[in-house]
């Protein structure tokens, strides 16, 4: 695996997404860097960045350590950021700090979180203190960076965030891991890039890909982006902007600004920010530029935007905007308070309420489907209208990304969907019965509760009846969940018409054996369905 040197850029492992006319390949640079390019192509200023491509990640795994030539290209990439900002990486005057983050074409859990303030050392801390006139801020940057690196690269599992100072963080990291954060900024950068690569093969990332049918060799890119500071002088500051009024949703910008401050200052409560009008009074041209950018993003994203920005020496940088780009982890979506989350906005209900997110996810699925067979399965569907909406979103993704061969199915875990499965049948290629959730919904008993174990049993005849009813539609039906992995139930599931069992790897051999031995006598099916409760079905299965 070796990438060719790009004749246009001269790089083999890097992409610099700074040309509005050249859209970078999302497979090569990941979703986050693609979003940076998109903001840039809309004429918005973001802190300068470069990307180590997914090809470098593949080369990392096929060889031993960082691929040949990458160390030199990382130095070249850093030089670019230095030139644009007039700062020096590891410098004793006007030091450059960077953030390092993972970015795959499809975002997934298990990948390394972002490291901020990389490049911080003892001498850099001094330089930053001198430049900002705020030694406490410089010490805080150093403390936080050491915590990020200790946790994410060195794997420290002690809590570091709450520790009072750098010395305490260093001591805890050393005690816990036997290692120290490198004092050389380049060693920090190399260590962080290698850790991001390695995280794409972490147990959790591998399990996630397997579960969602994402190709296993899909690595990650690494985005290295300059940190910008809002506390350098009076012409610097930091703030947030919402493009809609949070109370009534009207399109009127609303936000806060902290002159000569960093985001951390606001978060820590050290200072209280002022309304945005404060920026308008101090720097009307920056304020106007910000409103233009917000308006542009709001129109482009067709939705409200939540924008974080920093002004450095009178120059506006957009840091992060939610609802733009496709890398927003689901868990951060505000769902609003719910009395009973188990019966609330989850599964497809959640994604349909966040059309941009669904759209981005489906586009990623379609791109994957071009080189590998993919099945799309929508969870928590209750009525056909939800499926129709999801299919329309998929059609839109296919229009934009080009044709791909895809199978579409739904999870059956809501009893209403099982009872009306025939009405979903014309629009799906398969059903997959999620027996864990279905059992809880049918029996109104939580599986995790030790006192309800007997009630929350997937072998309850009502659950079996719903599985049978789903199979009767003639649509190929799979079963997943605890029941699928139970070899005693295999014969019964086959008798009900189930054609596929999804089980975790350790259970495969046992279930295969059970499938081979299964005799599909029609009587077992009828006797199980006629049983009064799960215990009776279990007795039936151990007799047979």
């Amino acid at each position: 695996m070796s990438a060719a040197v790009n004749a246009g850029t001269g790089y083999r492992w890097l992409v610099v997404p700074d040309d509005p006319a050249v859209e970078p390949s999302r497979d090569l640079v990941g979703g986050k860097a693609w979003s940076l390019w998109r903001m840039r192509s809309l004429g918005l200023r973001v802190p300068p960045a470069f990307v180590v491509t997914t090809e470098a990640c593949a080369a990392y795994f096929s060889g031993d350590g960082l691929p040949e030539g990458l160390v030199d290209e990382l130095a070249a990439g850093i030089r670019l950021l230095e030139q644009q900002l007039g700062r020096t990486f590891g410098g004793t005057e006007r030091p450059l700090l960077v953030s390092v983050r993972s970015g795959a074409a499809i975002s997934m859990p298990g990948m390394m979180d972002t490291i901020l303030d990389l490049g911080c050392t003892d001498s850099v801390e001094q330089a930053l203190a001198a430049e900002t006139g705020d030694p406490a801020f410089a010490a805080e940057v150093h403390r936080r960076f050491t915590g990020f690196y200790g946790k994410l690269v060195l794997g420290c599992t002690e809590e570091l965030e709450e520790l009072p100072d750098l010395a305490a963080v260093r001591e805890t990291v050393l005690d816990d891991t036997g290692e120290t954060v490198p004092g050389d900024p380049w060693a920090q950068l190399h260590g962080a890039v290698a850790s991001v690569f390695a995280s794409s093969r972490s147990r959790r990332a591998v399990a996630y890909r397997r579960h969602y049918g994402i190709p296993d060799d899909l690595g990650t890119a690494v985005t290295v982006q300059a940190m910008v500071f809002g506390n350098l002088d009076e012409d610097s500051g930091t703030g947030v902007l919402f493009t809609r009024n949070p109370v009534n949703g009207t399109r009127e910008p609303y936000g806060e600004y902290l002159q000569q401050g960093q985001g951390e200052d606001v978060v820590s409560g050290r200072v209280t920010p002022k309304p945005l009008t404060h920026l308008a009074e101090r720097a009307p041209h920056v304020h106007a530029e910000l409103l233009r950018a917000a308006d542009c993003l709001d129109r482009e994203g067709r939705d409200a935007q939540d924008i974080e920005f920093t002004v450095q020496h009178g120059e506006l940088f957009l840091l992060r905007t939610l609802d733009v780009g496709g890398d927003k982890p689901l868990r951060y979506l505000p769902t609003g308070p719910e009395a009973n989350p188990f019966l609330g906005v989850r599964g497809l209900r959640l994604t349909l309420r966040n059309p941009d997110l669904l759209h981005d996810q489906l586009r990623a699925v379609v791109r994957t489907a071009r080189h590998t067979p993919v099945s799309v399965m929508f969870p928590m569907v209750t009525v056909p209208a939800e499926l129709h909406a999801a299919r329309r979103a998929l059609d839109r993704a296919l229009d934009e990304e080009g044709p791909a061969d895809l199978e579409v199915g739904i999870m059956i875990e809501v009893p209403a969907a099982a009872l009306t499965a025939d009405r979903f049948a014309p629009d799906v290629d398969f059903f997959s019965v999620g027996t864990n959730d279905l059992t809880q919904y049918v029996t109104a008993a939580e599986r995790g509760s030790p006192r309800l174990t007997e009630l929350a049993d997937p072998l309850h005849p009502a659950v079996l009846g719903l599985i049978g009813r789903t199979c009767e539609t003639g649509v190929p039906t799979a079963v997943c969940g605890e029941l699928a992995a139970d070899p005693r139930a295999t014969g019964l599931l086959l008798a009900l018409g189930v054609r596929e069992l999804s089980v975790s790897p350790p259970a495969v051999a046992r279930v295969k054996q059970a499938v081979r031995e299964a005799t599909t006598e029609g009587d077992l099916r009828n006797r199980a369905l006629a049983a009064p409760d799960a215990a009776a079905v279990r007795a039936l299965l151990s007799d047979g």
């Binding site: 599992t157 147990r203 579960h211 868990r331 864990n436 995790g448 350790p506």
Partner: protein, 202 residues
């Protein structure tokens, strides 16, 4: 190394009252071999059978106490292994126990009450942290894993439980009826205590 017969009896010291199939899963031997070993052990009086389940007897415990010093002489004499155990006990093991407590109970207004699992973010943060501790355990126990193949098997089973917990099967965090992270962790802990001739710290 324990021979397969000793290993079968040993498995009942890690998992009390279990079927041959459950024990085979713990030690990674073919179920037929485990069944044969258990039948022999029952005849020898080293285990007691009750229906399809087995328990270790006092004679079985003595058999193991005699076998360990020879079987694990190298491990017990290794400073690296002893240092790894010290680190395991004071580090990751303590962290897993405290995470299990956090999973089962929650602090509300100064009192610990059962976790009703109504706060998805709270639960997700714990599962995430368990994942990082488990990753680190692989590094901490490396000297033991290099000397004893079962250690990696335990780590794989813990990883499999964690993957299920991450997939939403939350009883795989600390549930006692399933091979949860906590269940397998407990077995692994008992195993490595026996390997190294240590007592469970209180």
């Amino acid at each position: 190394m324990l021979d397969p017969y000793q290993l079968t009896v040993h498995s009942l010291a890690l998992r009390q009252l279990a079927t041959a199939e459950q024990l085979a899963e713990v030690i990674g031997l073919p179920p037929e071999e485990v069944t044969a070993g258990l039948e022999k052990a029952a005849a020898d009086g080293a285990v007691v059978s009750a229906k399809d389940k087995y328990m270790i007897s006092q004679a079985g415990r003595e058999l193991l106490e005699q076998a360990y010093p020879t079987a694990f002489a190298d491990l017990r004499g290794s400073d690296t292994v002893q240092a790894a155990m010290d680190s395991f006990e004071s580090g990751v093991n303590t962290q897993i126990l405290s995470l299990t407590t956090d999973w089962q109970t929650k602090e509300v207004g100064g009192d610990r009450v059962p976790n009703d699992h109504g706060d998805a973010d709270y639960d997700a943060a714990i599962i995430d942290k368990v994942g990082r501790v488990v990753d680190k355990t692989g590094k901490v126990l490396r000297p033991l894993a290099d000397a004893d193949p079962l250690v990696d098997r335990f780590l794989d089973r813990i990883g499999a439980a964690l993957t299920r917990a991450e997939g939403g099967e939350t009883d795989y965090v600390s549930g006692v009826r399933v091979d949860s992270v906590h269940t397998v962790w407990f077995q692994m802990h008992e195993h490595i205590l026996r390997l190294t001739g240590r007592e469970r710290p209180e």
